[in-house]
Symmetry: C2
Subunit: 166 residues, 2 copies
């Protein structure tokens, strides 16, 4: 299973592709796309879409994981964040991926084992789990965490299905 | 000039293409796309994107006009609306269009001549301006109003530029 994790934002969008070869988690590629505010929102959304479509062509993931957002500082910031997530999710569907959303709590639980973990702990565990000791980019770390969470959720679901069949 | 107006929403997205042949406004096509809530947000965003790309291929507009949103009932509805607008605007940019945003006030001012006009008055004026006496769909009417507003804004801008050169 190869999963594209995305941490979308109107200024910075993190991405990370993680492969689960059945034994361990392998990072395929990761990084983040930053866009200047001077670019204007429509052009930034177009760039987010195009970049994610390019990543899908390059890394060939089959599923996409995005952190679900339930709260925002205010309606204005929620609206802008929504635009970036909409462009990112449309790119995933357009690229033929199944798109899954996970809450911050689910991601922290999957990566750190504790739903109220600090952001720094999540990045630390992503580095350990994927052997990325030099990972600094916080947006890429959040994207990779979403991908790891999805792989855990899928493995758990498969194990449950097997257990039911036994 | 041929303009695609879009009224994006996560459940109903209105669209309308208007041509300005230099003498009058001609509606090219219009309608709305409705998607069931049961479909899930990612799939709905993918459908909005695909439908708008298809419309661009079919009607060949060169510019896109969308109503800008500054307020929303709450952060949750702003976030969802943002997703739909993000997918729609990404489709416009991906289709090679220039994307323009207009406030509800600007659209009402352009179509009705009064920024505080009721929604029904806007639809009424859209019917008169475009000769669409049987137009019922409120989402298509809002999309057509955005397109008409953009054509007015562009014509005004051109007239100002000409005046400066004389």
């Amino acid at each position: 299973m190869r999963v594209l994790g995305i941490d979308p934002g109107s200024r910075h969008t993190g991405y990370g592709v993680v492969e689960n070869d059945g034994k361990r988690l392998v990072p395929v590629l990761y990084g983040s796309l930053s866009l200047p505010a001077s670019m204007g929102l429509p052009m930034r959304l177009g760039s987010i879409f195009t970049e994610i479509r390019r990543l899908i062509e390059e890394a060939r993931p089959t599923e996409m994981a995005v952190e679900a957002v339930f709260v925002a500082r205010n309606a204005r910031s929620a609206l802008i964040l929504g635009h970036a997530r909409g462009a990112a999710m449309a790119a995933g569907i357009h690229g033929g991926l199944q798109v899954f959303e996970y809450s911050a709590l689910e991601i922290k639980q999957a990566v750190v084992g504790y739903g109220k973990a600090e952001k720094g702990q999540v990045a630390h565990m992503v580095r350990l789990l994927l052997g990325l000791h030099d990972l600094q980019d916080p947006h890429a770390a959040d994207a990779l965490a979403a991908a790891v969470c999805h792989i855990h959720a899928r493995s758990f679901h498969t194990r449950c299905s097997l257990a039911q069949r036994l």
